[in-house]
């Protein structure tokens, strides 16, 4: 059953997008990742213009993170002070990101920019995950348990000015690192159609030393509001949010995520993480391929404004 997507201006099968939403939702439910970094390239592969893929994916991330953020809020796992600083930075980053998308589209280089960003990001994440999962598989086979990382050490983050007390996180640190982190993640959300949890969570744990139980809730809080702001900014500045497409992806995504979460609780992670790393690397290679191989058609057309 074909459906016409009004903003993407293409006609495609309804179940293709629901299926894509479900597959990515399943993986994100299983691994607890946002899934934006897989969904945006998949949308581009199916022919959705890259700017529409990025703008629409922001809306889908709102849907997939809002329920998680609410659940964490009920368990009081959100540091609102930290979250608000991250959010303020995130909105600034998002404003800059959306303007960057606008400028890059005007000069016709947005596709290139998105693909290069994704090749870099997926390449790094895929490689790291691949190494980690291979090590984990080896350790599981040999039965060695690695000692966990030492905590409580001070680093350069603690020597910056503008110190604030974060009661929920039991921290007394400068506001500059969370603000900068927020700006960076907000910028990524706007230009790549990702939530940015894959950068924010490790940065909060290792750089800011936020307790692990507060990290997920606080980052989900920030992601929900930043992607909501990004969706509105993309809609106003670039008109690249396709509500119909977003709804299809959300429907597929929420169903997939439920099954993914159940499967993730019961399954051995290493092999599947290895597979996920493989998929991530495959997507990165496929994107890189499109830049390197001679395109059959050198020309492309972009519609300008409306009469």
């Amino acid at each position: 059953m074909n459906i016409y997507l009004p903003i993407a201006e293409m006609s495609a099968n309804l179940f293709l997008f629901i299926g894509m939403g479900a597959s990515v939702g399943f993986l994100s439910g299983m691994f607890g990742v946002g899934g934006g970094f897989l969904m945006t390239p998949l949308l581009i592969f199916t022919g959705v213009p890259s700017a529409v893929a990025v703008g629409t994916e922001a809306a889908q991330i709102v849907a997939s993170s809002v329920s998680g953020a609410l659940a964490q809020w009920r368990r009081r796992n959100i540091d609102f002070k930290m979250g608000t600083i991250l959010l303020a930075g995130g909105i600034v980053g998002s404003v800059f990101g959306v303007e960057a998308v606008k400028a890059l589209r005007r000069v016709g280089q947005f596709d290139l920019f998105v693909i290069l960003s994704y090749v870099t990001m997926l390449g790094v994440i895929g490689t790291l995950m691949m190494i980690e999962s291979i090590n984990a598989i080896r350790q599981a086979q040999s039965g060695i348990v690695v000692a966990s990382r030492q905590r409580g050490q001070h680093n350069w983050v603690h020597r910056l000015p503008l110190k604030m007390r974060f009661h929920r996180s039991k921290l007394y640190i400068s506001a500059i690192p969370p603000l900068t982190l927020g700006v960076f993640v907000g910028f990524l959300a706007a230009i790549m159609g990702v939530g940015g949890g894959f950068i924010m969570v490790p940065a909060m744990i290792y750089l800011l030393k936020v307790p692990t139980n507060v990290v997920v809730g606080t980052s989900l809080f920030q992601i929900t509001f930043v992607t909501a702001a990004t969706t509105i900014l993309h809609a106003t500045q670039n008109q690249t949010v396709d509500a119909t497409l977003a709804l299809l992806l959300i429907v597929g995504g929420v169903i997939g995520a439920q099954f993914g979460a159940i499967a993730g609780q019961r399954l051995k992670g290493e092999q599947l993480r290895f597979l996920l790393a493989g998929i991530v690397l495959l997507v990165a290679l496929r994107l890189a391929w499109s830049l390197v191989v001679h395109p059959g058609e050198l020309f492309s057309l972009t519609a300008l404004g409306r009469p």
Binding site: S23, G108, A228, A243, V254, L267
Partner: protein, 311 residues
């Protein structure tokens, strides 16, 4: 029991990963597929140099039939099967029939072939940017672009015979008939382009639009069904831009343009999709807020439904 359930879940997991991998591989396969060959009609049509001014078509009054008693002059009338077409969410393209008649036809039968009819349907002109990639340090990136201030969003030609047999290029050019003469205007930033460059960009636009089936040509698409009645079928793909369409019918005899007739047709968006489109472009801020509210609502509804099931 427990192990069976676990096996089941593992199966679901591997299916999901399999589907995703298939998507990626299918994407890669599509990318490797060569671009479709262009229809042979395009390169066979010679293009006159751009500098030559088009000679005006012969004034209608001077053309007299060779026969001794002056017969009444032929003229053409036409109409389309549907004047208003609604584009809804499930719009997957549509077909249109153009039919018409030659008044004062001197043909004895449909097979006489005395007249040539050319029908051109063109969509509302749109602005667009064409970009060209070239290899920079191993990467294929957009390096040059040209802005067109007016290009027909849709352009379909149907004729009784190949156009080069119907009339000379000069006649076709003056009426804007044929892919080589599609009326396009360049933005003033393109005024320094040379004639071959202009042709390259024009051809690229036509080729890409043909690839999307927005530009079409059927060299034997018009058929006479009597000594004066003719018809032709057109199809519009789902990606067609909505708006006012113009249908022009040209009547030729021996390479001479005898009569033209113009009729309109409207493509309108309707239903939910129409609402979404208008909303997105007329009230972008509220559209963004609306999309976020839908997303929040869907996310919360899903967690409510699934949490209740689990309990």
């Amino acid at each position: 029991m427990e192990s069976a359930r676990r096996r089941h879940r593992r199966t679901i997991a591997s299916i999901a990963i399999g589907v995703l991998t298939a998507c990626v591989l299918a994407g890669a396969a599509i990318a490797q597929r060569p671009a479709p060959a262009q229809p042979p009609s395009v390169p066979t049509q010679p293009v006159p140099p751009a500098q030559v001014p088009p000679p005006a078509p012969a004034p209608a009054q001077e053309t007299r039939p060779p026969e001794a008693p002056p017969l009444p002059r032929e003229s053409v009338h036409a109409d389309v099967s549907t004047r208003r077409i609604a584009v809804t969410s499930t719009f997957s393209g549509t077909g249109i029939i153009v039919f018409g008649a030659v008044d004062n036809s001197r043909q004895v039968s449909a097979e006489s072939g005395l007249y040539d009819v050319v029908i051109v349907i063109s969509g509302a002109p749109s602005r667009l940017v064409a970009r060209k990639k070239s290899n920079v340090g191993g990467l294929w990136i957009n390096t040059s672009s040209v802005t067109f201030t007016s290009v027909p969003s849709y352009y379909a030609i149907s004729s009784t015979r190949p156009l080069d047999e119907v009339a000379s290029d000069d006649v076709l050019k003056s009426s804007g008939i044929g892919f080589d003469f599609v009326p396009m205007t360049f933005h003033r930033s393109a005024r320094n382009l040379t004639a071959p460059e202009i042709k390259e960009w024009r051809d690229a636009v036509v080729r890409l639009k043909q690839h999307e089936r927005l530009y079409q040509q059927d060299e034997y698409g018009v058929a006479f069904v009597g000594r004066s009645l003719f018809r032709s079928a057109f199809d519009m793909p789902a990606t067609v831009t909505v708006g006012a369409f113009e249908t022009r019918v040209y009547l030729f005899r021996d390479g001479e343009l005898l009569s033209t007739y113009t009729t309109k047709l409207d493509l309108e968006r309707e239903g939910l999709e129409h609402f979404v489109h208008r909303f997105a472009f007329d009230h972008p801020f509220f559209y963004g807020v609306f999309t976020v509210l839908i997303a929040v609502g869907a996310g919360m509804l899903a967690s409510y439904v699934f949490n209740r099931n689990k309990a």
